[in-house]
Structures are given as structure tokens and as C-alpha cells.
């Protein structure tokens, strides 16, 4: 009898708690893998911050899920002056979240802010822009010093975010504490490392596409805990589900999954010319690098480490991308050829150190590569290094090979130019690769006016890079999302951002 009473009481309490947890569904709770940095589009630098910006700050243009440039704050655009001018027509009747008008003057202010603010992380992205001219209230002209094809893609990201001039002037470099843009949700509150709260902006130009009153972003670094929060009903949507949790999440009837191949790549950067540690068979002889690539089975790597969820690749663009150079497909594993290449190079058992960021996934991956390469005769020593330290060592040239990736950009220029160009920052071109023919092709691709002309240049780049191998590209991540089964209208994009337009709870 007493036991029955206790059980009844426990059940009542539990029911009460559960009811409390699942409060009224006008709030969308999103579990993020990290805590964003400063929420100022000019100063921001993290991927995860861009997820929050996607709900808060509209851009001049956006991308579609198939990577086409589509209108957002600008409705129409065309190139003039031999591709040295970009004229953009702005959407009429758009307001910032502080009630100010979004017009040509605001666009000029925002672009100039990106270009001139001390510490701006946008300056390099749009440095081709020399000035912004106001043609009329709703038309601007971006004047370039030379043709720069990637500009539109840059304007589809943070460099294209237009901020309220009044708020930005009032707040100065503290604007990130109270950002004011023209997106569907306005900033309400932030508790560092705990939550970012945004509320629906009632005067948003596309308000019919917005269904939740509030979005709360909650950073939870541990992927298992992120999933647990979703399963227990505390979150509605989580990003970066661990590939190893995908099976469990797919079998849970309370959840559904969305995935898409990302713009990111992962690979091995090899020190070719960056200080003393480049003087080494792997750095000096491209036959040794080819042998290393031939010893790796990308499909097996994907199966063993990522449950087959990622996309094997051999270029800076995924095989599904329109910018992938189809004439150079992924090479199959060929241990015999790898051995003969090593014999020809006179180093049948080359030994080198592979620097690996010290997270579980990267460690597992490096161990698989180590054992595959051993079959061809390589002796790889793994050096597990904390991430910030590894960046520092790489830019100083204190490495032989470095397992590192790139989060990816919409335009191919953003995925290759700074990694192999002679003038690229040492932290990105850690191999210190420099080839004038590649530089010429990269510059020609920037100046070309049609996609076909650009593709012809990227084919030249690929022919050099994939033979010289400053980077051996291995695979492309897939963005894995899990969400409450009742959530509808979520579309995954290759850039990994969560666009709230269209998402609703059915």
C-alpha cells in the first residue's frame, strides 16, 4: 500500500516536471556545439556565430541550398564598368530592428564599417571594394579597383550584413553586445556560455516566413549531452550531431534527421618549404607524397571513423560541387604503386611526424591513416597537439605534416586562394607552397567574368596542386542535424547555417 502511494507520488512529480519542461511551443531552442564569439558582423570570426547571425542579420544576398546567389536585402544586381562596378537595387520598405530605415546610406555605412573598422575580420574578404556610391535611396554601386568574381559570394555572408548605422555609431566597438540588424529576429539577451535569446522582429520584411516568437541558442559542447537534451525534449533542434550517434538518433521515433554535404574539407597539409622541418623526404620529393596519398583508402577511412556519413574527396571542393574538377577523380588506393614510388625515391620506409589536433575524431582518423600508410612502408609518428598550439606550430613551420581542415566558403576562391598562393598568410598556407603558374591561374579566376572561364582556371590550379600535393585532401564533412519530429520546414544548407525562415512546429 505504502509503495503504491510512493509510486503514485513519484509519477505525479515526474508528470509535473515533464509538463514544465515542454513549455508553450512558441520558442525554438537550438543546441549549438560552441559558444559564439562577439556578435558584431564586422568583428566576428567563428562559424557558430554565423548560425546566430542567420536569424538576426539579413545580408545583401543569400545562397540557395544548391549554392546559387539569391536576393535578400538586394533584389537585383548587375556588373558594370568591365566588371569593376556592382550595382545593387535594394528592397524597399525594409526596417532595422530599432525602427530605422534600411536604405542606400545604411549599406554604404555598413560596407565602409567592414572596410575601415580597426580589427575588422571582413576587410580582407571585400578588400577589392574601393568605394560605395549612393545612386539613389535604394540603389548602391560598389566600385572595385579590379574585377573580383567572388564578391557576390562574400556579400552572401557576414561582409554583406547591413547594420543599423544609428546603433552602430552609438555603440562603437561594443555594438556586438547589442547588435541591431534587419533580420527576422532581434537581439534580446546573452549570457556568455549559457544562452543567446532573440525575439521575433514584428516589422521584418518577410514576416510571413517567421513562425516562432523566440529563438534561444544554447551552447552545449558535448555532442552526447546535446543529443540527450534533444531526446529529453529540452531542445528542438541540434547542430553537429556526432556521426557515431546518427544510428541511435535515427531509430528514435521522437526525432528526425537532416543532412547535407558541407563546404568544408579535411586533409593533410605537408610542410614543403616552411623552415628546417620541410627538409625531409615527404616535403622534398613529390613521389613520396603521391605514395602517401595512394596508401590511403578514403572510403575505408569514412566507414571506420565516421560511420560512412561523410563524403570522401580529393579536392578543396566536394565531388558534388559545381566547382569540382571532374577530370581529376579520387585516386583509388594502390599500395603496390605506393611501394614502387617509395623505392624509386630511394626511401622505402620514410618516417615523419603527423601533427593532429587532440580531439577524439581527429585522433581516430590519424590512427587509421597511420595503419594504412604503414602497409606501404610509412612510419608515421602521431603528435597529438592542443588546437591553438597546433595553429601556432604550423604557422612557424614547426611541423612535417598537419592534419587540418577548413570550414569552407561558398565561392571556390575562399577555399583555395589563401592556402596555396605565394602571398597567402603563413597560418593558412602553412606548407609555404608557391608556384607562379598557380598564382596566375588563381588571379585569373578572380578576374574572369563567367563561371566557365573561372572553371578553366581552377582546372589549371587543380592540375598543379593535386600533383604537387601541398595538401592531400581526404573528405568533406556532412552537416548532421537532429530535431524534434514535430518540427517542419527546416532546410539544411551547405554552409551549415540554420535559417529560421519557414521553420515551424506542427
Amino acid at each position: 500500500m505504502r509503495l503504491t502511494r510512493i509510486l503514485a507520488a513519484v509519477t505525479l512529480v515526474a508528470a509535473g516536471l515533464t509538463a514544465n519542461i515542454a513549455d508553450a511551443q512558441t520558442t525554438l531552442r537550438i543546441g549549438l556545439a560552441e559558444d559564439p564569439d562577439i556578435l558584431d558582423p564586422t568583428l566576428a570570426r567563428t562559424f557558430v556565430g554565423r548560425i546566430v547571425f542567420a536569424a538576426m542579420c539579413d545580408k545583401l544576398v543569400d545562397i540557395s541550398a544548391d549554392l546559387k546567389i539569391v536576393p535578400q536585402l538586394a533584389t537585383e544586381w548587375h556588373w558594370v564598368d568591365d566588371n569593376k562596378g556592382l550595382v545593387m537595387t535594394l528592397r524597399q520598405g525594409v526596417k532595422f530592428q530599432d525602427g530605422e530605415k534600411m536604405d542606400a546610406a545604411a549599406v554604404k555605412f555598413s560596407i565602409e564599417r567592414h572596410l575601415t573598422m580597426p580589427g575588422s575580420n571582413r576587410k580582407a574578404e571585400i578588400s577589392a571594394v574601393k568605394s560605395v556610391e549612393i545612386v539613389d535611396d535604394h540603389t548602391v554601386k560598389l566600385v572595385l579597383d579590379k574585377p573580383f568574381a567572388p564578391l557576390l559570394a562574400q556579400l552572401s555572408d557576414r561582409a554583406g550584413m547591413i547594420v543599423s548605422p544609428k546603433a552602430a555609431q552609438a555603440e562603437g566597438d561594443k555594438f556586438g553586445d547589442h547588435p541591431v540588424c534587419a533580420g527576422p529576429y532581434k537581439f534580446t539577451e546573452r549570457v556568455a556560455q549559457d544562452r543567446i535569446v532573440l525575439d521575433r522582429f514584428p516589422d521584418y520584411w518577410n514576416k510571413d516566413a517567421v513562425h516562432f516568437d523566440r529563438i534561444v541558442y544554447l551552447p552545449v559542447p558535448d555532442a552526447t549531452v546535446r543529443l540527450a537534451n534533444l531526446q529529453s525534449g529540452q531542445f528542438d533542434l541540434i547542430e553537429r550531431l556526432a556521426a557515431t550517434d546518427l544510428d541511435a538518433a535515427s531509430k528514435d521515433s521522437r526525432l528526425k534527421i537532416a543532412t547535407i554535404t558541407s563546404l568544408a574539407y579535411e586533409g593533410i597539409t605537408i610542410n614543403l618549404n616552411n623552415g628546417e622541418r620541410a627538409k625531409h623526404p615527404l616535403g622534398q620529393d613529390k613521389r613520396v607524397r603521391e605514395a602517401l596519398e595512394l596508401s590511403i583508402d578514403r572510403n575505408a577511412l569514412n566507414q571506420v571513423v565516421f560511420n560512412g556519413q561523410f563524403t570522401p574527396g580529393n579536392q578543396w571542393e566536394a565531388p558534388s560541387s559545381p566547382w569540382y574538377v571532374k577530370s581529376i577523380p579520387i585516386p583509388a588506393r594502390d599500395v603496390a604503386k605506393a611501394k614502387s614510388l617509395l623505392a624509386a625515391a630511394g626511401v622505402p620506409h620514410p618516417s615523419f611526424t603527423l601533427m593532429v589536433p587532440n580531439n577524439t575524431e581527429a585522433t581516430n582518423e590519424s590512427q587509421v591513416i597511420q595503419s594504412m600508410a604503414a602497409e606501404a612502408g610509412f612510419d608515421i609518428k602521431l603528435q597529438s597537439t592542443e588546437f591553438a598550439s597546433s595553429l601556432d606550430l604550423a604557422s612557424k613551420g614547426d611541423f612535417e605534416a598537419y592534419q587540418i581542415g577548413w570550414s569552407g566558403r561558398t565561392d571556390p576562391d575562399g577555399n583555395i586562394y589563401n592556402f596555396v598562393g605565394c602571398k597567402a598568410p603563413p597560418a593558412l598556407n602553412a606548407a609555404k607552397y608557391c608556384n607562379p603558374e598557380v598564382d596566375a591561374a588563381l588571379d585569373a579566376a578572380r578576374a574572369a567574368s563567367t563561371d566557365d572561364a573561372r572553371m578553366a582556371q581552377y582546372t589549371i590550379v587543380a592540375q598543379h596542386i593535386l600533383a604537387d600535393r601541398p595538401i592531400i585532401y581526404l573528405y568533406h564533412r556532412r552537416w548532421l542535424y537532429a530535431m524534434n519530429a514535430g518540427l517542419s520546414g527546416f532546410t539544411p544548407y551547405p554552409d551549415g547555417l540554420i535559417r529560421p525562415q519557414g521553420i515551424e512546429m506542427k
Binding site: D37, N121, E125, D222, Q234
Partner: protein
């Protein structure tokens, strides 16, 4: 007592100075350049140069130390490079969270550890003693991280009784606040309870065999009175020391537990700051927790004297 207090308080300043030099110096040994880390993926050289200059990273070490101390003396602990907010604000924001979690964890620890220790000592060499010792061993050897995940899977995912992680401030909802802290406080308290039980047990055993306890028994006092009024008072001294140390440890951030339960306290703050080379935040938090440690030890010393006035000499 006054002389004792003055002596102890005078020691605080050189200790803090020593701690500040140590954190400042040791941090410089970390590989990795904060400006490079903060410049983001793009690694724009202009941004790196700007960050170096803005945060005085290009100045010699002694100059940077002097600049920092000058700020600290004026109550300015610097600014987080990562989220561009004053370190003081971050500490003020996180301290109550960590304080509440630490307080609740200590409550759990004391509520389990002290009675279990007393019971084990009084029922020395019986099944109760062995049982308590076994439970204590379990508590010490259970990794916090693992226990945390298991509790989440049981109470949040399977049963749906408790929120899996996060933190709700008490002024927003006290009930939600306590619900979010139940599991992390238990995980932390459980490990400390085990240590506390062992210490209470051995201290009690020693005291119970002392002459004055035998005298008290000979006077015909009841078992409860002998144990609680005469023995426990003296046995508590090592337990108080331990409690102060453990509480200090909790304040400096229960790193793993805060990470698992996503509690936005000192532990998460400092771990993120170290990984991002956010020096000002690391320095501010360490200085603050060092100060808390020193104060807790002072409180423990005062508590000894109150428990056993002979120690004030």
C-alpha cells in the same frame, strides 16, 4: 585571537602577489599566440597586428605585467579578447552560479559524508562500517564525467524527470534552478562525500579511543551524548580543513562536471579561456579563485579556534 587574525590577514597580500606573478608567468609558457588564435580562420595579418597592439601583446613581459597589475589595483581585470567584455563582468556573472553549485555540492557531501563517517566509526568493524567504506570507495573511484552522462541518460532521456543540462537563474525560477542543479550537485558532492566519510571515520576512531571519551563514558553519559557532544567536536577539525579545501576546489571550477551539464560557471569560463588563449580571463579567474581559497583557509583557521580554543595560542 586578534593577533592571530592580523597575522593571517597580513599574509594575504604577499600570497596574492606571488600567485599573480605565477599565473602571469606560467601562462606565457603556453605555446600559441592569442592574436593568432583570436584572428579566426581567416588569419588576416592586419587583424593579427591590430590585436597584438590593442592587447599589448607586443610589449615586453614586465611591461604587460605592470599594465595588468595597474588595472587590477584599480578594479579593472581587463577585457576578454574573445567576446570583448570586461573580465570583471564575466566573473560577477559566473561567481553566483559556481557558488550555488559548490554550496549545494558541499551540502550533499556533508549530509552524506559526516553521518556515514560517524556511523562507520561507532559501528567499527561491523557490516555497517564495511558497507559505508564500500560506498565511499565507489564514490571516489567513479569518474565524474561518466557518472554525469549516466545520470543524464537515466533521469533526462529515459525517465524525463530532470533537465539534461543548462542553468536557470534562481530569480527566474527557483524550481527550475534547483532541478538543473540536482544532478551536477550530486555528482560533485558524491565524490567529496566519500573523502569526507573516510576522514570523519578515522578522526572519530582516534577520538573515541581517547582518555577523555573513556572518562565521559565512565561518568555514565549516554552513547549519543558521548559521540555527538564530546567526540565529534574534536574529530571535526580535520574535516573542517578538508571541507574548506574541497570547497575552494569547487569554486575554482568543477571543470568536467560543468562541461557535462553545461553549467555556465568558472570551470567552463576558464577552460574556454585557456583554449582560446584569452589571457585576461584566465588571469582574472585564477586571481579571484586564489583569493577565495585564501579566504576559505582563513575561515577554516578561525573555525578551528572556535571548535578548539587551545589552537589560538
Amino acid at each position: 585571537m586578534t593577533a592571530f587574525l592580523v597575522r593571517r590577514i597580513a599574509l594575504i597580500f604577499p600570497t596574492l602577489f606571488f600567485v599573480s606573478v605565477l599565473i602571469f608567468g606560467l601562462q606565457q609558457l603556453l605555446p600559441g599566440d592569442p592574436a593568432v588564435t583570436m584572428a579566426g580562420e581567416e588569419q588576416d595579418p592586419a587583424v593579427i597586428a591590430y590585436l597584438r597592439q590593442k592587447y599589448h601583446l607586443d610589449e615586453p613581459l614586465p611591461v604587460r605585467y605592470a599594465l595588468w597589475v595597474e588595472g587590477v589595483v584599480q578594479g579593472d581585470l581587463g577585457e576578454s579578447i574573445r567576446i570583448k567584455r570586461p573580465v570583471k563582468d564575466l566573473i560577477i556573472e559566473k561567481l553566483p552560479v559556481t557558488g550555488e553549485l559548490a554550496g549545494l555540492a558541499m551540502l550533499v557531501a556533508i549530509a552524506i559524508g559526516v553521518p556515514a563517517g560517524i556511523l562507520a566509526a561507532v559501528k567499527h568493524d561491523t557490516a555497517i562500517d564495511y558497507g559505508a567504506t564500500m560506498v565511499a570507495l565507489w564514490g571516489i573511484s567513479m569518474p565524474n564525467f561518466w557518472l554525469g552522462i549516466m545520470l543524464i541518460l537515466l533521469f533526462s532521456v529515459t525517465l524525463g524527470w530532470l533537465p539534461a543540462s543548462g542553468f536557470v537563474p534562481p530569480d527566474e525560477s527557483l524550481k527550475q534552478n534547483l532541478l538543473t542543479l540536482v544532478m551536477p550537485a550530486f555528482v560533485l558532492g558524491n565524490a567529496i562525500a566519500a573523502v569526507m566519510m573516510r576522514h570523519t571515520r578515522s578522526a572519530m576512531l582516534q577520538v573515541l579511543s581517547a582518555d577523555y571519551v573513556r572518562t565521559a563514558r565512565a561518568k555514565g553519559l549516554s552513547q549519543t551524548s558521548v559521540v555527538l557532544r564530546h567526540a565529534l567536536r574534536n574529530a571535526l577539525i580535520p574535516v573542517v580543513t578538508l571541507g574548506a579545501l574541497e570547497f575552494g576546489g569547487l569554486l575554482s571550477g568543477a571543470v568536467l562536471t560543468e562541461q557535462v551539464f553545461t553549467i555556465p560557471g568558472f570551470g567552463k569560463l576558464i577552460v574556454d579561456a585557456v583554449f582560446n588563449r584569452d589571457y585576461a580571463v584566465v588571469q582574472g579567474v585564477v586571481l579571484c579563485t586564489a583569493f577565495a581559497y585564501i579566504m576559505l583557509n582563513l575561515v577554516a583557521d578561525i573555525a578551528y579556534v572556535l571548535i578548539n580554543p587551545r589552537l589560538s595560542a
